[in-house]
């Protein structure tokens, strides 16, 4: 508290009594936020991400509820959401939207830019590709069940070699989102400090059943493929707790 003119200011610790000017304080808070997010500076945003793509991706996340003020509510074992002030680990989820450079009828190449810059201690514990498989209106000729096979290949950035990551049979009854696990591939990418993940997606049987995997199309922003990466600080990977 400010001392009266006749009084000597109280001898207190550095955090007591003195309030920094608001503008300086604001700058300090900004630096604090950036440092906690492990960012050197605020990201430079020059264009907006299509809202439809963003909304769809966010709806697909299964994270704890986030309050208006940013505090996290973590579902407890009894199913009730409780405030989570004791969340010890810093966890991250990264949603990356696909870009495409090569599209043929049977296979497509998707590229994701998932930079680990600034967050170089992240350990990936889950990564999934989300792909929307759409049934065309005239695809009802071959019974109600349509079994297709989706293969996801990983492509080396520096050469043309590729290997199979996922081979999944999908039983389709209607148009829907499907996930394809890519944890090992994304973990390796982060460990190598690379930024670009090149995938080749192939759908066997899609043409027969009039099933269309939706890739990057202007009119289909809400069905644009995306990658969800869940990670935590790598230092905590082998943590031993004693309480």
């Amino acid at each position: 508290s400010p001392a009266r003119p006749t009084e000597q200011p109280q001898d207190t610790c550095s955090s007591c009594g003195s309030r920094a000017p608001e503008r300086d304080f604001l700058e300090a808070v900004k630096r604090h936020i950036l440092s906690r997010l492990q960012l050197r500076q605020r990201p430079n945003i020059t264009h907006a991400v299509p809202k439809a793509a963003m909304v769809t991706a966010l709806r697909k996340l299964h994270a704890g509820k986030v309050r208006e003020d940013g505090r996290v509510e973590i579902p407890s074992l009894d199913g009730h959401a409780t405030p989570g002030p004791d969340l010890q680990e810093q966890s991250s989820e990264i949603i990356s939207f696909a870009e495409t450079d090569d599209l043929t009828a049977s296979r497509v190449r998707l590229a994701f830019m998932i930079s680990n810059e600034g967050n170089q201690n992240l350990f990936v514990f889950q990564a999934n590709l989300w792909l929307y498989l759409k049934l065309l209106p005239y695809s009802s000729g071959k019974g109600s069940r349509r079994k297709v096979r989706v293969k996801v290949h990983f492509q080396e950035p520096d050469n043309s070699s590729r290997w199979n990551l996922v081979d999944k049979k999908v039983d389709l009854k209607r148009s829907a989102w499907h996930t394809f696990p890519l944890t090992a591939a994304v973990r390796e990418l982060f460990e190598k400090r690379e930024r670009r993940l090149n995938l080749e997606v192939q759908c066997e049987g899609c043409e027969d059943y009039a099933v269309v995997p939706v890739y990057v199309e202007p009119g289909e922003e809400s069905h644009r493929p995306f990658l969800v990466v869940r990670a935590r600080q790598a230092d905590n990977r082998h943590r031993i707790r004693k309480r």
């Binding site: 207190t12 610790c13 007591c16 808070v29 900004k30 605020r42 966010l58 505090r71 990264i94 830019m113």
Partner: protein, 115 residues
């Protein structure tokens, strides 16, 4: 923990809300819309320092250990510090236009006390 209300000079929690729109950060931070950059301020008289329950923290325990050994760090002064912090979850765009959701522990000061 006390809330600062302008009437007390004792250690209390001062609320400080920053609206991301006002600082032009709403273009890259999707949620939340602002940050409670709360902080602790106020005096810590000797009778408040290290009182169990009012501010039992790691710092209090250390200072009490010193006192028990006849040492007296910092004379009678104690510090007004955060004694309860909470996690904040942020959703934002990075430089690659990916959406990042990050749970950052110890981001919001919930309570202050003397240690």
């Amino acid at each position: 923990g006390l809330e600062c209300d302008g009437r007390t000079s004792l250690c209390c929690r001062q609320q400080f809300y920053i609206d991301f729109r006002l600082i032009g950060w709403n273009d890259w931070i999707i949620a939340p819309s602002g940050y409670y950059g709360n902080y602790c301020e106020g005096s810590c008289p000797a009778y408040l320092a290290g009182v169990p329950g009012s501010a039992s923290s790691f710092h209090t325990a250390v200072v009490n250990q010193y006192r028990m050994r006849g040492l007296n760090p910092g004379a009678v002064n104690s510090c007004c510090i955060p004694t309860k912090l909470s996690t904040m979850s942020m959703l934002y765009f990075d430089d690659e236009y990916n959406i990042v959701k990050r749970d950052v522990p110890n981001m919001i000061v919930e309570e202050c006390g003397c240690a």
